[in-house]
Subunit: 346 residues, 4 copies
């Protein structure tokens, strides 16, 4: 039985982590931290009967011997120091913030506007997109859990990119449920503003999650005018609690047919327990993914009368709190610790 | 053509007032006030193309000659002074706050916890539940626009109460859309908290709106243990933007049959343009009322095999922002100013 | 490892059963039946990757040796024969229909309008409201899984009724998510009709679920004018997928205080893993229950200034598909088979 | 005062037409037809108090002298004969079906799979996209009301297309509320299926609404491989009642700057009462359009650091039942009849 600490446990990802840990046969909750709510109990903040006490991070640093793994759900920038300290104390660290996702600290600085405080650790960290980097994750001491949008996009396009079949310009129209914004109060996330509505935001090459797409899908240059791919990414706020749908418009080289592409995906994702490759004609919807750790994928030629055309629509859906955050964090723990990969995630 | 000023125009009721004024053949927008957003324009706060400037209340006091009527959408307590000043300046005043709804300033103090600052004006104010007090409202200079919950309850039960057929204990289970809470940010009103949820609140005899039920339906004593009716009122937060459904459980005296009751309601509300009395078997739902100034009413015997039983379920629905606030405010203006009562409200 | 057959597997309760079985450490899916969709695979009907074949009931009768338990999700009336046959074949049977819930076949006939085809088995069946009848359920061969509304009401009021503290008239205002109606197409359940709406239905003493409240809470006479309790039950269709909230208005005898009642509930439900008794001031909402097998309960005096008053509001929430159907079915299986009661339900 | 007949009045567009006619100072309801519900009254089908009788189409043909205009809300194919008969009878006809939208009957046949039954009338019909074809619509006897998706797309892109600034490939990612599918029962439109979900459909060049984009935006060849524009259009079913958001990815020629484009749109839509051109940084959301006859438009460079780049995101929102159907139908009537264009639509 392993014990897990959760730093920054009072957001939606913390709640979801606890839910999943309760279902996990080999993992249990150790301590939970919250700076703002230290001294309270978890059930005072959420509609759950869990009476775990909330401790400050400072106390958690003194109690690293009680846990085998720490999941960090802190805001980016704040995570850097905490990760460093837990890592130094010898526990396994799975960081759900953006701080250790980008290999190049210059890219980090460009997108996040601050110097990275732990560049050496950054090089040490493994990027925890499980299906793509499983072998590197086995035994890993520090894993940067991917962002929610990039998880949907990277799982959706990686086979094409790896095969060299992804043409330069990629248009990604993503839609995300409101929990993606975290558990904070802001007018645009109020029920009467978000309900019966849909709003594009961060329109233009501005959303920080593009950096992870560029890193994974092979752009050789972090900015959008480099030699690599150019991702035109438009996220939308959707009136649902959970789930991301990314509708992706891509071009493939002449000669690549739908059959080739289907074969490519089938091979790449053969045996993957959390990839749900849909048959022709079935489109990935949130219902395929919400409440699960699965990523559902559809591939459709833009012109169905010409299955050797160059334009394709790839759609990918995930639950932003599970495969896009806490579920993948558990999956990363399972891989790193050598536990059955699907444990707690069925 | 009449001109309307709106004080506190940047909440949902202000937005709705402007919408209705735009549809009104004899009313147009004069000035709009906002303390927090003075200097901005309305379209910077809402997704509407209306570029009306927002002025502070202090400026509005100097511009009373530009308007024929002022609608006040200020928080309770803040409204008292503003109403007094606009009233003194000679313009017609329709106050959407709770400050002038209660005739007895002691009752006001008991429920709102503060001394009333303008008790003389309070006596002057007419309670603007149009269908019940139309004759008193004609020509009125100061009208207190009723609360949203009490509008649904009072319209639903007034015929019974007036006829002396409403037994002492009345159980009211109300459900309201989230706009009822105003345009403010609070965790419980965030989309991901309110969506896919329903929550009772202010459970017990605690909601201030009970005071208006007691005043209208004839309780002779403001507290809940007086000689009059005892209203057990439980509001719930519903995952919809707009609309109130009040499900009311009442007893009538022996000998009063369903036919008597239907006859009673038909007579009381004969010719009322905004009362939609439903036939047996059709239940009032939000769909009957949302987007309209109507109140839909259903009356059903608790035991349909005994239409002379004593227990009845009365259901009433309104749009909380229209009949429960801005629509009824316009209706009050129409009655007071002698304009066609349905103008702007069809 | 136990194997489960599911008869009528292509509704929402079937889907939920499969989800829970996948999480259960000692249970796995055997066969699934569907009359209408026999020959297809499960993933052709739902957005899930589960390729289980669907067989007709006739085939399932020949394959009883492959399973240890059969969960029946058939419509009432249709379930009687199927239960009889599976029971006769010696497998454990958990019936989610209404057919075996009522002990008195005359009561069954009065509410459901048909003669019971298996009265002897009806006497044999145990009513599977786990927290109340656990000892009778241990080892049971045939369990009638309770209805969703009655589960919320009976768990909410049983301690009062058992103590003799529940006065005659009980008013129950229940609100249920749309999955409660099953997976069928009907205009009132269409998105654009149910969304942004709430509708009372079956108003008056007409909903069949009252029979289960009368049976459990001790009414000595099935009709609503008997000597026992009189349940005035009004269900409402709520614009959410899942969840039931029952707001119950009850009277207790003079001398019974809030402290007595809290003590009573605490004792009745001490150690119950799925009862979440909320502290004073916290109201049960759907968020307390949805996605879990829990029932959350709140108890509030109608007049909080008088904690020895006689009127109380008891609120209870459950997930209609989990504690109100498939979750409780698994819990019943666990109890009957001697498996850890919370297995698969955490 | 003009009188309107509505053929096929019992869908969502019929309901909306009646609502708008009630607000219109110069238009009132004449007769309503419904084949399936002839003999009933409108209030038996909708939650409205309107007791208009429903007559069969055959009766309406005999009562053309009672109305000045007929709005047809019939399914495509069925509308051809009805339009012909009403037109022949001399009343003004506004057809909300697809039957008279396409100028070229061969294009009609290709997309709808049937021969056009009234090719001569088809040539006679004016395409009622008011802002683009106002002068042709004045006095028109037969107007084909545009489809909902094409209204959003064509208003969004017309200035670019007309200026020759719209490059060949146009990617359109549209999201529509569920009323867009009409008032019919189908599993995918059931609340519990559509809620908390979003689903792409008709993926690939398959949706019939593309024909209207090609016709308006200047594709010289109806199929998607002609010399004209190539529209890659992906509609999605959104969990809201009403509203369409089209997110459009376009390229403009080198040398065309953001300032040029803004100037172009400002000139094209100067003085348009129903076009809401948003300032830089504000994105069109459903909240800008729902409940109104407006189309809100945003224009954003894909790379905001390079306002002379070639990639732009144009977003357009409308209410599918108002500007996308019944509101535009009223606007068309107003223009055709010489009534104030905004009458009934404020």
């Amino acid at each position: 039985m392993y014990k897990a600490g959760i730093a920054g446990a009072t957001g939606y990802t913390g709640y979801e982590l606890i839910t999943l840990i309760h279902r996990h046969p080999q993992l249990e909750v150790g301590w939970l931290t919250s700076e703002r709510n230290a001294g309270k109990r978890f059930n005072q903040l959420f509609s759950a009967p869990w009476t775990y006490p909330l401790i400050p991070l400072a106390d958690a640093y003194l109690r690293t011997d009680e846990v085998d793994v720490v999941f960090l759900c802190l805001p980016h920038a704040e995570s850097m120091e905490a990760v460093s300290r837990f890592y130094a104390a010898g526990v396994r660290v799975i960081d759900l913030s953006a701080d250790f996702r980008l290999k190049d600290v210059n890219v980090y600085k460009r997108w996040y506007g601050i110097e990275h405080a732990a560049p050496a650790l950054c090089a040490e960290a493994r990027y925890g997109l499980c299906e793509l980097y499983r072998s590197e994750l086995s035994g890993a001491r520090l894993i940067a859990n991917p962002g929610c949008y990039p998880t949907s996009v990277n799982l959706g396009l990686y086979p094409l990119a790896k095969a060299g079949w992804l043409e330069k310009r990629v248009i990604i129209d993503s839609k995300s449920g409101v929990t993606g914004a975290g558990r904070k109060t802001k007018l645009i996330y109020q029920f009467a503003e978000a309900n019966e509505n849909i709003t594009p935001y961060s329109v233009g090459h501005r959303h920080r999650h593009i950096a992870e797409m560029e890193q994974v899908l092979g752009a050789t240059n972090g900015d959008s005018h480099g030699r690599g791919h150019r991702f035109l990414f438009t996220p939308h706020l959707l009136p649902v609690n959970r789930g991301i749908l990314s509708t992706m418009y891509v071009d493939v080289p002449a000669g690549v047919t739908e059959a080739h592409i289907r074969q490519l995906y089938a091979e790449n994702y053969a045996g993957e327990p959390f990839i749900h490759l849909l048959p022709p004609g079935e489109q990935a919807s949130l219902a395929h993914a919400v409440g699960t750790n699965r990523c559902a994928l559809s591939i459709t030629p833009a012109d169905p009368s010409q299955t050797d055309g160059s334009e394709y629509i790839v759609t990918a859906t995930i639950d932003n709190l599970i495969k896009g955050a806490s579920g993948q964090a558990i999956q990363n723990f399972n891989i790193a610790a050598g536990v059955e990969e699907t444990a707690g995630l069925q």
